[in-house]
């Protein structure tokens, strides 16, 4: 429990699946639908959400291994052309999960992978956000993780704010909860 307890992104990052191997038998859990006996045998290989896998790992019930999204293939692709790797389909909380995994298992390569990936992609995100016409954006946006999408939106809105400041425009806004669309004119 801490400052992130109510943070939805932190919670959703914990939902990402990681590969794990059970070291102990576990009784009475319906974790896997194929399992009728409700018992998990030792040495069974499974994919568990991170919130469960990490707690079990700390108690030596399971052993967590590195998720495939931080594997060799991703490392090579990031090294070749980091900015255009589709990270979202691999793990939409790539950076967050990476940081959590490193704290759990001592793995040296992930830290530098995250750093290289973020550095190359950050530059590209900002360039795209400041320049590209909105029609081009959707294709590029579909490659970005949650964190990068937020950066993109932030960069875009600051460009827009700068334009309104320079050109002068309406400064009052309708309350955002009421929605953007104007109400249909009643006849």
């Amino acid at each position: 429990m801490g400052q992130y307890h109510h943070d939805i992104d932190d919670i959703l990052a914990d939902e990402e699946l990681v590969p794990a191997v059970f070291l102990e038998a576990v009784n009475g859990v319906g974790l896997f639908e194929s399992n009728d006996t409700n018992r998990v045998e030792p040495r069974s290989k499974v994919e568990l959400p991170f919130w469960l896998a990490s707690e079990l790992h700390l108690r030596h019930v399971t052993s967590v291994t590195i998720p495939p999204c931080f594997g060799k293939k991703t490392q090579e692709e990031i090294g070749a052309d980091g900015a255009h790797v589709d990270l979202r389909s691999r793990c939409s909380y790539f950076y967050e999960l990476g940081c959590k995994i490193v704290q759990l298992i001592n793995e040296k390569t992930i830290g530098s992978l995250l750093l290289v990936a973020f550095q190359t992609r950050y530059k590209e995100v900002l360039i795209k956000a400041h320049t590209s016409a909105s029609a081009l954006a959707p294709k590029y946006l579909s490659l970005l993780t949650k964190e990068e999408t937020k950066l993109y939106e932030a960069a875009k809105s600051s460009t827009e704010a700068f334009k309104t400041w320079r050109m002068g425009g309406p400064r009052f806004q309708k309350a955002s909860v009421l929605g953007r669309k104007r109400k249909p004119v009643r006849e």
Binding site: H5, H6, D7, I8, D9, I11, L12, D14, E15, E24, A25, V26, N27, G28, V29, L31, F32, R39, P49, W51, L52, E55, L56, R59, V61, G168, G169, P170, R171, F172, Q173, K174, A175, S176, V177, L178, G179, R180, R182, K183
Partner: protein, 198 residues
């Protein structure tokens, strides 16, 4: 998989536009609580079984112990998800109080709130109003630093004759008026007027 439903609830919340609310999802919320009830039943059954076997769960960590652990972790997880859902919605609702008075809330937004959220908004909003009344100062205006005390606005909805701070004005639809900022501001945030810039 345990906890899947609860995360769906949160995914639904973040998929909406920031600052806007989606309807309170009573269905999934109830399903998550149902899942928690199931977890408790399993947890208690496992604990009972361990007691009957006389095993001390501190020293003898057997398969039942770990089963109970999984159910415990799932309960904690689901609780965290549900709390985050309610908490983040409450934040949006609190911010509402600064732009719209409770009585002015459109029905379309009102039906998105659960019963207790509605009550929360009403009370928060009236607290805010009475505080401003005590101070004799409307804190909800001038959120954007003023450049000029007057602004030009177009009326988007029929409002009718209204007593403003310096005049009685007929705010008919489509009319363009020059009003004091502080009078226009609440109408704009309700979407009944828009600011015109030359």
């Amino acid at each position: 998989m345990y906890g899947r439903k609860a995360s769906q609830l949160l995914k639904e919340f973040v998929s909406g536009e920031p600052g806007q609310l989606t309807g309170f999802n009573n269905d999934v919320f109830a399903q998550v609580i149902e899942e928690c009830d199931g977890n408790i039943l399993h947890l208690q059954a496992l604990l009972r079984k361990m007691q009957e076997e006389g095993s001390n769960n501190q020293t003898n960590k057997n398969a039942d112990h770990f089963g109970a652990l999984v159910h415990h972790l799932s309960l904690v997880r689901n609780k965290r998800c549900l709390m985050a859902y309610v908490y983040n919605r409450a934040e949006v609702i609190q911010n509402l109080g600064w732009t719209i008075k409770h009585a002015d809330l459109p029905a379309a937004v009102k039906e998105k709130l659960s019963i207790s959220e509605n009550e929360y908004f009403g009370k928060h909003s009236s607290n805010l109003q009475s505080y401003m009344l005590d101070l004799n100062l409307d804190l909800a205006v001038d959120m954007v630093p003023p450049k000029d005390p007057y602004i030009k606005v177009r009326v988007l909805e029929e409002i009718g004759e209204v007593l403003l701070s310096d005049q009685i004005a007929n705010l008919a639809m489509h009319s363009i008026l020059f009003l004091k900022r502080i009078d226009a501001e609440s109408f704009i945030s309700q979407g009944k007027m828009e600011e015109l810039t030359s």
